[in-house]
C-alpha cells in the first residue's frame, strides 16, 4: 500500500484514468476537457484525451447537450462521465438529468438503465458569489432514481468516484472547489489502485457514545476539528460521513443515534429544505422515544451566497456553530 500524498484534484484524475483504463465503455466529455482545449478547467482531465482519444472529448458550452448526450450514450450502453463545470449550471441541465437520466430506467420498465456520472464542482468560501457556489444536493435527493455522492478526503473521492462510474444508476458526484484549492486542500493518503468505496454506505469517522454528528463533504473536516477538541474535554462524539448523501445509509445513522440518543446534522447547503431536514426527520421518526434531545441542524443561512468575504463567512456554517449544536444537545 502506497502512502504518497494525493490531492482532491489528483484523486478525481486518478479515478477517471483508472476507469478509462479498465473499461472501454467509459467515456468522458465536458467543456475544455480534451488536451487541445486545456485538459479541463481545473486540470482534472489533463492528459486523458491524448491517451484515450475519442473517448475523452470537449464540448461547446451546452449543458443541455452535454447531459443529453450522456443520457443517450448511457442508454446505448456506455458509461459516460460528464463534467458540469459548476453545480449551479445544473440549473440548465435539470430537464435532462431529472426528467430523463433519473427516470428512464423506470419509464422503460427496466430496459434502459442510465449508468452515467455527473461530476460537478461547487462550494462557497472563495468569493465566487451567488451563481458559482451553491450546494444543491437536496434537489437531487428529492428525485427518485439518482444517487448523490460527495467525499471529504481524497482517498474517498477516488474510491467513491470509481463506484459512481461503475454504478448502474445515474450518479451526481460533487467536488468541492475549496477542497481542490482552498485551505482544506491538504493532500491525504493515496489509496491503492483499484480502491473503491461502496455507495450507500456511510463512514464512521470517529466512534463515540455521547452524541452523533452526521455530515458530508467539506464540513466533515470542520466537524473532525470540533469533535477532536471536544474529545479532550471528555465528550465522546460519533462522527458519521454519509459519503452517499442520498439515498443515505439509514442503518448506520440510526444505529449510531440509537446508541448516543443525540444527533446533529451538518451541511454547507442552505438549511431550509436541505438534506439535513430529511436526515433529521428520519431520525425523529424512527428513534423518537429514545432521543434525549431533538436533532439539530447546522447549515447555511437563508440567503443567496454573498460575495463579500465577511458576509460569505457569516453565511456559511462554521466550526463554532457545529460546536454550539453539539453542546446544545448534550447539555
Amino acid at each position: 500500500m502506497t502512502t504518497r500524498p494525493m490531492t482532491f484534484v489528483q484523486a478525481s484524475a486518478a479515478a477517471l484514468e483508472e476507469a478509462l483504463a479498465i473499461d472501454p465503455t467509459v467515456v468522458m466529455f465536458g467543456e475544455d476537457m480534451a488536451d487541445d482545449t486545456g485538459g479541463g478547467v481545473f486540470g482534472v482531465s489533463a492528459g486523458l484525451s491524448t491517451k484515450y482519444g475519442d473517448r475523452v472529448r470537449s464540448t461547446p458550452i451546452s449543458e443541455q447537450a452535454i447531459m443529453g448526450a450522456a443520457v443517450g450514450a448511457a442508454v446505448a450502453g456506455l458509461r459516460p462521465v460528464v463534467e458540469i463545470m459548476l453545480m449551479n449550471f445544473m440549473g440548465i441541465a435539470m430537464d435532462q438529468f431529472v426528467n430523463h437520466a433519473s427516470k428512464l430506467r423506470f419509464m422503460s420498465g427496466g430496459q434502459t438503465p442510465v449508468p452515467l456520472t455527473v461530476r460537478t464542482a461547487t462550494g462557497a468560501g472563495f468569493q465566487q458569489a451567488a451563481q458559482h457556489s451553491d450546494m444543491l444536493e437536496a434537489w437531487f435527493g428529492h428525485v427518485a432514481g439518482c444517487k448523490v455522492v460527495t467525499a471529504s478526503n481524497p482517498a474517498d473521492a477516488k474510491g467513491l468516484l470509481l463506484s459512481c462510474i461503475f454504478d448502474d444508476d445515474p450518479c451526481i458526484f460533487i467536488e468541492n472547489t475549496l477542497l481542490y484549492f482552498g485551505p482544506g486542500a491538504v493532500p491525504g493518503e493515496a489509496p491503492p489502485p483499484g480502491h473503491r468505496v461502496p455507495l450507500g454506505k456511510a463512514n464512521v469517522v470517529r466512534e463515540g457514545s455521547d452524541v452523533t454528528v452526521v455530515s458530508y463533504g467539506r464540513q466533515v473536516i470542520d466537524a473532525i476539528t470540533v469533535v477532536d477538541r471536544l474529545a479532550e474535554e471528555g465528550l465522546s462524539v460519533e462522527l458519521i460521513d454519509l459519503r452517499t448523501i442520498m439515498p443515505f445509509d439509514e442503518r448506520t445513522v440510526l444505529e449510531s443515534v440509537a446508541k448516543t440518543k443525540r444527533a446533529v446534522v451538518v451541511h454547507e447547503a442552505v438549511k431550509r429544505c436541505g438534506v439535513g431536514a430529511e436526515v433529521s426527520s428520519r431520525i425523529h421518526e424512527e428513534l423518537f422515544g429514545e432521543l434525549a434531545k431533538p436533532v439539530l441542524r447546522v447549515g447555511a443561512r437563508t440567503s443567496p451566497v454573498p460575495y463579500s468575504a465577511v458576509l460569505e463567512q457569516a453565511y456559511l456554517p462554521q466550526a463554532p456553530q457545529i460546536e454550539a449544536a453539539i453542546r446544545a444537545v448534550t447539555a
Partner: protein
C-alpha cells in the same frame, strides 16, 4: 425510387398506423379505453418512409406524438397497445405509457414527453455508434414547435462539431398545440436553419412518399457514411388536433378539410395501383392483415393484467427500493 417491396412495405406501415390511430380514437370515443391520445392521423407517410429507410438496428428517439414512429420502427402492436393501456405486458410493463415508449429490440430507445429534449439524447446514442463503429444511424423526430427550444440548437451544434451519425427529422404538422407554425415562423423554412450550424438541411413534402423517402435516404446515407448530421423538415398535417378531443377552435375548418381531402394515405394507395406497384386486391389484403394484427393487439392488451404493485419499487434504481 424505392424498389417494389419497399413501396409496398411503406403502404403496410401506413395502413397499420392509420388503422391503429382510428382504433384508438374509436375505442376512446366509445369509452372502452381511456388515456390522453396524441393522434398521428395525417402523418403516416413520413413515419412509413422513416421505417423503411432505417435499419432494424438503427436507433430511434421519438416523442409523445410517436405512435406512428414506433410502429414504423417495428414495435410489436400487442406490446404497444398493452403499454398504452398501462398493462404489465406493455413494452415498459405499463410504467412508461404512451409518452414514454422504449422498445430496445426494435431500436426505439427513448420516447420523451418534453418537447425537443430528444434531440440532445439522440446525439449520445449516435456518439456510442461512432465510437463502436457499428454503422448505426440514430434518427430523432420532433415537431415544428420543438425547433424553438434551446436543446434543439445545442443538439445541432454538438452533432456538427462531433460529426455524429444522426438524422434530425422535424415533422412540421403546422401546429404546436394551439399555436400555428406561421405565428412563430422567423425563416421561410426550418430546413434552412441547419445552415446556422454548418450542416445540410432540406424541406420536403412529408406527405409525398417518394419525396420524403428520397430525402430520408439521402440523410441516412450521409450520416451512415460518416459525413455527419443532417436535418430534414417534412411538411405534413395533423388531422385531429393536438390531442384526441381537441376542439380545434384555433384552426380554420377549411384548412383542415383541405388537408383531409388530400389525405396522403389513400393518395399513396391510389398511386401504387396506378403505377402498377400493387393491385387493389393486394392492398385490401394488406389493409385486412393490418386490421387483424390490430384486433389481436387489442385483445392481447385488454386481456393483459395490470402491473403488480411491487413494480413501484423496481426499476427506480438497479436495486429494489426498500419499503
Amino acid at each position: 425510387m424505392p424498389d417494389r417491396p419497399t413501396l409496398r412495405r411503406m403502404y403496410e406501415l401506413m395502413t397499420t398506423i392509420k388503422q391503429c390511430d382510428e382504433r384508438f380514437r374509436s375505442m376512446i370515443a366509445a369509452g372502452e379505453i381511456g388515456f390522453l391520445h396524441f393522434p398521428v392521423r395525417g402523418q403516416e407517410v413520413v413515419a412509413a418512409a422513416l421505417g423503411v429507410t432505417l435499419r432494424h438496428d438503427d436507433y430511434l428517439v421519438t416523442n409523445y406524438r410517436g405512435m406512428h414512429d414506433s410502429i414504423a420502427k417495428g414495435v410489436s402492436l400487442g406490446e404497444l397497445w398493452a403499454e398504452y393501456l398501462g398493462k404489465a405486458t406493455g413494452t415498459c410493463k405499463g410504467k412508461g405509457g404512451p409518452m414514454h415508449i422504449t422498445d430496445r429490440k426494435s431500436g426505439v430507445m427513448v420516447t420523451t414527453g418534453v418537447v425537443g429534449s430528444g434531440t440532445v439524447i439522440a446525439n449520445g446514442l449516435a456518439y456510442a455508434s461512432q465510437l463502436r463503429q457499428d454503422g448505426r444511424v440514430t434518427a430523432v423526430t420532433f415537431g415544428d414547435g420543438a425547433t424553438s427550444i434551446g436543446a434543439f440548437h445545442e443538439a445541432l451544434n454538438l452533432a456538427k462539431t462531433w460529426n455524429l451519425p444522426v438524422v434530425f427529422l422535424c415533422q412540421n404538422n403546422l401546429y404546436a398545440e394551439k399555436t400555428a407554425y406561421s405565428k412563430f415562423q422567423t425563416t421561410p423554412t426550418i430546413g434552412e436553419r441547419a445552415s446556422a450550424y454548418g450542416l445540410p438541411g432540406v424541406t420536403v413534402d412529408g406527405n409525398d412518399a417518394l419525396a420524403i423517402h428520397d430525402a430520408l435516404q439521402t440523410a441516412v446515407e450521409h450520416a451512415r457514411s460518416g459525413r455527419g448530421p443532417y436535418l430534414v423538415e417534412a411538411m405534413t398535417y395533423r388531422f385531429f388536433g393536438h390531442y384526441f378531443g381537441d376542439p380545434m377552435t384555433y384552426q380554420s375548418a377549411t384548412e383542415r378539410e383541405a388537408a383531409i381531402a388530400a389525405d396522403p394515405v389513400p393518395r399513396y394507395r391510389q398511386w401504387l395501383i396506378q403505377l402498377g406497384h400493387a393491385t387493389e386486391g393486394e392492398l385490401v389484403a394488406m389493409d385486412d392483415a393490418a386490421k387483424l394484427l390490430i384486433d389481436d393487439a387489442v385483445e392481447f392488451a385488454l386481456n393483459s393484467p395490470d402491473p403488480d404493485l411491487a413494480e413501484l419499487d423496481l426499476d427506480v434504481y438497479a436495486a429494489e427500493v426498500a419499503a
